[in-house]
Amino acid sequence: MGNTMIRAENISKYYRLGVLGSGTLKEDVKNWWYRKSPESLSTTSLSRDHIWALKNIHFEVGKGEVVGFIGKNGAGKSTLLKIISRITLPTTGRILGKGRIASLLEVGTGFHLELTGKENIYLNGHIMGMKKKEIDRKFDEIVDFSGVERFLDTPVKRYSSGMYVRLAFAVAAHLDPEILIIDEVLAVGDSEFQKKCLGKMKSVSGEEGKTILFVSHNMQALRSLCDRALILEKGEIIASGAPINVITQYLKSGKEQFLGNDYSLDGFLPGNEFIRVQKVELLPEYLDHHEFIDIRTPLRIRFEFWYDVAEPGDLITGIHLFSFAGEFIFDLPSKRYTLEKGLVRGECVIPGNFLNDGSYYISIVFVRNTTIRLFYLESCLSFDVEDFRDNGSWFGKWAGVVRPDFPVVLTPQLNK
């Protein structure tokens, strides 16, 4: 045990689905009569009217450890954090722990719009478990951090949403728990403020040795803040380990990528009497041995097709890249080739540091004599490009369709 701060043993959570209505009382009486409790149900049982949000979860968190939970919506991350925060009860199992917990499932919980900023600092602080003396002591720091000192005596309903969030986060940042539970709160505020918050989180875990549990969809933040990551899928922990490995596994498994197809395997080659496509492949040249595509990864596209046009003429193939939103990003044509009948291979590399992070798909067009479209192979490849940043100070979405790495040089000029 020693340094363990939290130990979860066999945690399961059962939810009854459906509307609670006129049938509720009847069912309650029935359950009471037959003494049927949820505990008597097995976690493997399936039914239309209930769901196991968590199934037999075990984990331990050590002192000073920062643990990130990854998972799709509905995987049970938030339920787990809620159980640890004592907002909802587990159906089975228990959690043992040491030290004061503060949960940031939301910032600014309990803010009252009619009250002034100052009143709300106290109200929110108390709700989060701070005592008056503690807030008195940190009051100036909180106000400083929030940057709204001029509006302390204004009711928060007159605040802009940015000011509101900053004030709320400022209170949260000055909680002094041994264990901090955070759910997706990094997604708030402008970039400068985000930087401040993340810096605060880093110092809280690093210098102050606080234990942090957090849930985020932001892989960048997870990568740079966590000591360990866990994947939750359908209520179960399916992986745990160093963040980079776990994130890689998550990105590989979670996304609907379509990195290639060898059509000859299922015997049907898409095409027509002129063109039959045999194979398309996207071959990322992975860096650091992590098998997911990030913005630095060069992407090799390779395709093979049977060319079956007897008359003289030439062929151009075009690679069309679309964003998932359907924006046409580029149309990359080949040169004009005069080809014999037979199998042809096409290849092209999209260099690293070219595409921005996001989801993309590719279509390939085959054109004869620059005007006649022989065949259009629609969305034959799809892939996701993950973000990567060296300096982990800002995790907001990078704007733009492409993200080239051209050098921008600043040279100080002497004023004569």
Binding site: M1, R7, Y15, R16, L20, T24, L25, E39, I83, I84, S85, R86, I87, T88, L89, P90, T91, T92, G93, R94, I95, L96, G97, K98, G99, I101, S103, L105, E106, T109, G110, H112, E114, L115, E119, Y122, L123, H126, I127, M128, G129, M130, K131, K132, P155
Partner: protein, 282 residues
Amino acid sequence: MDKNGGWQWEITANPGWFRINLKELIHYKDLLLRFVRRDIIASYQQTILGPVWVFLQPLFTTFVYFIVFSRVAKIPTDNIPPVLFYLPGTIIWTYYSDCLTATMYTFVQNAYIFNKVYFPRLIVPLSYVLFHSFRISIQLILFIAVYLFFAIGGKNIHPNADMLLIPVFILITAAFALGCGLIISVYTAKYRDLENILQFVLRLLMFAAPVVYPASLIPAKYKLIFWLNPLTPLIESFRSAFFSHRPLPLFYLGISMATSFLILLLGIVLFNRKEIQIMDVI
């Protein structure tokens, strides 16, 4: 290392019936006071008269009772000036009904907070009761002012030392209201139908207590059941403390106190047991 092997807290599927953690409640006393303060500030934001409303509400009610029950229906008031007669009943009844209505919505109204942060949920109903206790204190000042006005006017009133017990009467009322409110809050969270039923029950209950008529009006055969209502001896004692030499109905006061605190205990135990489970059904 203590007996739990160094663990300081435990979350289990079944928290048990008696886990009222006084130490924790005390830790959150600042929150309790802050909630009361919030409610006081918020309830008079953007009103012109502000706290004056605390005075005006019982005055208006008393005035209506005076017209309807005294002038029109001609219900006797035990030879006490009608305005003075209605005020104690109105004040105690309003306090009871305000505390009850506020606490019974604890879960429904605070679900958005309860869904995000843990703190002992009991803090919220306690803060409601304290908020209304603040109001009743102001109303008592009003009552004493009106009382002195009549006393100087030489009316037939007989103050006696029993009036020192007024805080005790209020405490019993608070216990009764909070107890009922806690029990009801647990069930209204799940069965919203209760809210509708309770509106009628509350109205009925008001006429079952001697708010607009004196207890002396009740026929002998209903006397016992009438006096078993915990509010009856409280209102009657309040009146007799200010208006007569009659001895306090100590027997019924004792029963009222016992009933109220029993209900309160029951309410606290039930509330504590259910406070987290309720979050899944709300």
